[in-house]
């Protein structure tokens, strides 16, 4: 059966798929722990009866029972060398059971391993394994292939590439989404759709995990962007435990009724996953026959994706910024890093650009003296995990581009494809194979067209060539070619005219490498920003730029707002409101300097505190009074706010740090005034325990409240603590422990101390420590840092 015939099926009506095989086999006595594929070959009649029941119930496509028949899964049963025979025989068995009028889909499930860049299984090894399985399924007579229950977009890609490299056969790819609407690998449905449909999947959708109602939301969210039919194969409800038994609650009638929502949302192929039976499929088939299918709404889609994010290139949306920093040209540190095969700078550049507002990351590793293919693979792997931003691969070498396109778990953009014949001939097929978008560079061999008119001719020529590979105007963005105004005063005008023509007449999207315009000129940020604003007005879609350039980014935001590309100027207002936010309103009279000091402590304003104290002292305030009447009451009120749950821990810490900074400044002056500490405290986390964050919090707060703190650290032996106590003669000994197993060491410390004649009070705390435990070992207890200070105050006053 060829692809056209299957296409005709889904265009005419909703195609009915089969229901569950695994849960049906268990009902029919398949024991736990066996390899289902091997068991089915040993018990063919049982599997045949399940397949036949689905065909009789109305399923037009029945999946082979080969979900786990890849070399990795079969290895668990010592059958990794039987991939071909198992798949071929199970495909034939399905055909025999269903007859010639049912389509047989060769089922490929996950390998059970994680594929690079998210795991250890090399991408090419995954492709090879899936090829081995797909080859056998096709040889066994399958009409189509279904790649299903995938939780990792990269594994789904590997399987899809494997199938496509074997045969142009109709291929469905179906992922499994969790309750949060993402796969376990973190991919959202739309990113997956963009990646898979551009890579050549003939149908995309979801199966397993949820029931039909939740799945309808996913299908509805995908429909406006799907070029291909959508598939849904939900479970018979959400599986739940009844005692220790897994049950699926949704009866056939309820399931079929709920599937109406899936059809209404735009599903073109419907079936059932875990817990469904032939009765579920019979009722589903009955209602689906009466429903007119909703065809895909779009024929092309300008969109890019990573494993965790998508970017739609839509008209009337803010200008897209492609971060240009990951490029060694003119960056010595990056050049050195690439030579040393390191990636820490690239990682930082990616994170910084994301924070600064880049929507995409341009990645160029072109550097003499390195293996560019090896490097781009390494960098692609790194960035796939580090940044959710989709990538633009930027290279003059075809091999580098191909390596990145093959490995990247999303839909990439190529920077760039020009009119040079050889490049065109090599890059267009590559872009088509991997479904990439590309930047169309209107250059011909050794020739930069000077005028917009000449550029238009090259653009039209490249577009015409690309159409032979199925590309539409949604699949590329035209580079308007930015030349330096320093060498040609007309250069910017010609570029802008090209952008204008692309937007108004040719109706395609555009991109500019903005900063080239100012090359050789002073005041470059202003030229760049102004040029961006002018291009924005001409309809520019995206700019390759440094998102750290404040002038450029601010002008972009302003132009988005003024050009009605930032709905209700939302982003503009958010950005500039935060930047120019007025100081919080002060109630009543202006604050005195003492009040300002108290406010700085309460707000945790470490930057202002020293300046304010200096101001107070210059005004003649007594340092001792400042501490006792202003600073300590301020930190005490912070403690109260924390206890009342108005402040949370970071606020308490910020205030404490501010107090500490203020005290560090004022302390030398206090000594002159014979200021005294409230008392001395030794702090330690007991032996065996390495968790010391709680002890550190207590230490900081104690210092704030005027205690002298001797911190002995963590994992401290009883002997060491006791020796320190004998030497320091503290007023209180504070001990912390996080675990029940180390908490017992507190008792040892106290016993040893008492044996050595130390009568000092012990104050203990930690996640597992309780008041009762403290009492049992003769210690005092505090639940948190603020309570520790209060308890210490009481003990000192005793």
């Amino acid at each position: 059966m060829n692809k056209e015939k299957i296409t005709n099926l889904w265009k005419k009506k909703i195609v009915i798929l089969d229901g569950a095989t695994g849960t049906e086999l268990q009902k029919k006595s398949m024991p736990a722990g066996v390899c289902p594929e091997l068991w089915c070959l040993e018990n063919p009649k049982i599997l045949e009866s399940i397949h036949a029941s689905y065909a009789q119930a109305g399923a037009q496509i029945v999946y082979t029972c080969t979900f786990g028949a890849n070399r990795f899964k079969l290895k668990q049963y010592g059958s990794q060398d039987k991939v071909e025979a198992i798949n071929k025989n199970l495909a034939r068995l399905a055909r025999k059971a269903c007859g010639p009028n049912t389509l047989i889909a060769g089922d490929i499930g996950p390998s059970g391993l994680f594929v690079e860049p998210f795991g250890d299984l090399p991408f090419e090894e995954a492709i090879e394994a899936f090829k081995e399985q797909a080859r056998a399924l096709i040889a066994g007579g399958c009409d189509l292939i279904v790649i299903e229950t995938m939780i990792d977009i990269q594994e789904a890609r590997a399987a899809l590439i494997a199938v496509k490299e074997l045969k142009n056969i109709f291929t469905i790819v179906s992922l499994t989404y969790e309750e949060d609407g993402r796969t376990l690998g973190g991919t959202d449905p739309l990113s997956a759709l963009i990646t898979l449909q551009s890579l050549g999947a003939d149908a995309v959708g979801c199966n397993c995990s949820t029931g039909p109602e939740k799945m309808a939301d996913i299908i509805a969210s995908l429909k406006p962007y799907a070029k291909v039919p959508l598939i849904a194969k939900p479970n018979a409800g959400i599986p739940r435990l009844e005692g220790i038994k897994t049950v699926f609650d949704m009866e056939a009638k309820e399931f079929a009724a709920a599937c109406r929502g899936l059809a209404a949302a735009g599903a073109n192929m419907l079936g059932g996953c875990c817990g469904t039976t032939s009765e579920h499929i019979r009722l589903l088939s009955g209602f689906a026959a009466k429903i007119k299918p909703k065809p895909p709404r779009v024929k092309s889609l300008a969109a890019l994706s990573s494993a965790r994010k998508f970017l739609l290139l839509e008209e009337n949306k803010p200008l897209i910024i492609v971060g240009e920093r990951i490029n060694p040209t003119g960056k010595k540190a990056l050049q050195q890093e690439l030579l040393e095969e390191k990636t820490s700078l690239i990682r930082q550049m990616a994170l910084d650009q994301e924070k600064q507002g880049a929507d995409l990351l341009d990645v160029n590793v072109g550097q003499p003296g390195i293996d560019e293919v090896k490097t781009i693979k390494k960098v692609t792997t790194l960035l796939s995990a580090v940044s959710p931003l989709p990538l633009v691969v930027d290279s003059s070498r075809v091999e580098t581009i191909e390596a990145a396109l093959r490995l990247y778990p999303g839909r990439m953009m190529i920077n760039s494809i020009s009119g040079e014949k050889e490049k065109l001939a090599r890059l267009l097929p590559l872009a088509a194979k991997y479904g990439a978008m590309f930047i169309l560079l209107p250059l011909t061999a050794g020739n930069i067209p000077q005028t917009a008119k000449k550029r238009q001719a090259v653009i039209q020529n490249i577009y015409s060539q690309s159409r032979k590979f199925g590309f539409t105007k949604d699949d590329f963005v035209v580079d308007g070619l930015v030349m330096a105004v320093a060498s040609d005063a007309q250069a910017a005008r010609e570029t802008l005219a090209t952008v204008r023509w692309c937007h108004d007449s040719f109706k395609c999207k555009t991109i500019l490498g903005v900063s080239n315009v100012s090359f050789g000129m002073p005041g470059r940020p202003w030229l760049n920003a102004t040029f961006l604003a002018m291009a924005h007005y001409c309809g520019l879609t995206m700019a390759i730029a440094n998102p750290a350039a404040a002038e450029l980014m601010n002008v972009k935001k302003a132009a988005d707002a003024l050009g009605a590309k930032d709905n209700a100027a939302k982003y503009f207002i958010r950005h500039f409101s935060a930047e120019t936010a007025p100081a919080p309103p002060q109630s009543g009279q202006p604050q005195s300097v003492a009040e300002k000091i108290a406010t700085a402590i309460k707000d945790g304003d470490t930057e202002k505190i020293t300046g304010l104290i200096k101001e107070a002292l210059s005004a003649g305030m007594d340092p001792f009074e400042l501490v006792n009447k202003t600073m300590i009451p301020a930190i005490v009120s912070v403690g109260d706010l924390y206890e009342k749950k108005i402040y949370f821990l970071p606020q308490l810490m910020a205030a404490a740090q501010t107090m500490e900074k203020g005290m560090d400044y004022i302390e030398p002056l206090l000594k002159k005034n014979a200021a005294q500490s409230k008392g001395k405290i030794i702090l330690a986390t007991v032996q065996g325990d390495v968790h010391d964050i709680g002890k550190n919090i207590v230490g900081l707060l104690m210092k704030n409240y005027g205690y002298e703190v001797v911190d002995l650290g963590k994992d401290v032996s009883a002997q060491f603590i006791v020796n320190a106590a004998l030497k320091e003669k503290p007023d209180i000994i504070g001990l912390s422990a996080l675990m029940t197993t180390t908490m017992v060491n507190m008792k040892e410390v106290i016993s040893l101390a008492r044996d050595r004649g130390i009568k000092t009070d012990f104050l203990i705390g930690g996640a597992v420590v309780t008041q009762a435990y403290a009492q049992s070992i003769g210690a005092h207890y505090a639940a948190d840092g603020v309570q520790a200070v209060k308890t210490a105050d009481k003990l000192i006053k005793k």
């Binding site: 599986p239 924390y642 910020a654 964050i693």
Partner: protein, 206 residues
């Protein structure tokens, strides 16, 4: 029975709400200034970039559970009444482990040394919650794997050191999960290092 499955790169969504809760944030009472919120978000973001989340799991077939001692076919035994009750009726158990890596712990140490405890407590809470979320992720992953077998994981998990399940069992779990291959060490007091490393046990039923 095969060895443990190592997951060398776990990517999860940041459990921001849980991190805030761990830091003592209460929706009904806490009052955050924009400054504190921005600083906290920035610290969470910085912590996330320092976390390298890895994990491991191992399925073990139960041979006997007499309410006191759970025996597995692999020869491993766990003695605990509470754990026995927890795993009652489960034909299999699964051991789970996850670590947030050492880089985040170094950063917490550094921030503490610099006197920036505000950052340190946020880093600490982020690492704790993310390590815990990694165990949730591994459980979801196992559920995906076993759903086709008509099986489900128990929704909860049990750890060494809880109730009468002695912490010394951490050593056995550590070894079975090959946590050394993920850069995790175990101390004589059965503490896992780096600190933000966790293990647990759950049951497979159905």
């Amino acid at each position: 029975m095969d060895g443990a499955t190592l997951l060398k790169k776990i990517i999860i969504s940041t459990p921001t709400a849980k991190i805030y809760r761990r830091l003592g944030f209460k929706k009904a009472t806490s009052q955050l200034t924009p400054k504190t919120k921005n600083e906290t978000e920035a610290h969470i973001e910085a912590a996330v970039s320092l976390i390298s989340l890895r994990g491991s799991f191992l399925r073990l077939k139960t041979s006997d559970n007499d309410g006191q001692l759970i025996k597995f076919f692999s020869g491993v035994n766990f003695s605990s009444k509470k754990l026995s009750r927890f795993l009652r009726g489960c034909p299999e158990a699964v051991l789970l482990g996850a670590t947030a890596g050492s880089e985040i712990m170094e950063a917490i140490k550094e921030k503490t040394a610099q006197g920036d405890l505000q950052a340190a407590v946020v880093y600490d809470a982020t690492a704790s919650e993310i390590a815990d979320a990694a165990l949730d992720w591994i459980m979801d992953y196992i559920n995906q794997l076993i759903r086709r077998e008509g099986k489900t994981l128990l929704p909860r998990r049990f750890s060494a050191g809880y109730a009468d399940f002695d912490l010394s069992n951490q050593k056995t779990i550590y070894e079975l999960l090959n946590l050394d291959k993920l850069g995790v060490r175990i101390t004589e007091a059965y503490m896992l290092l780096p600190e933000k490393s966790v293990t647990a046990i759950s049951g497979i039923c159905g």
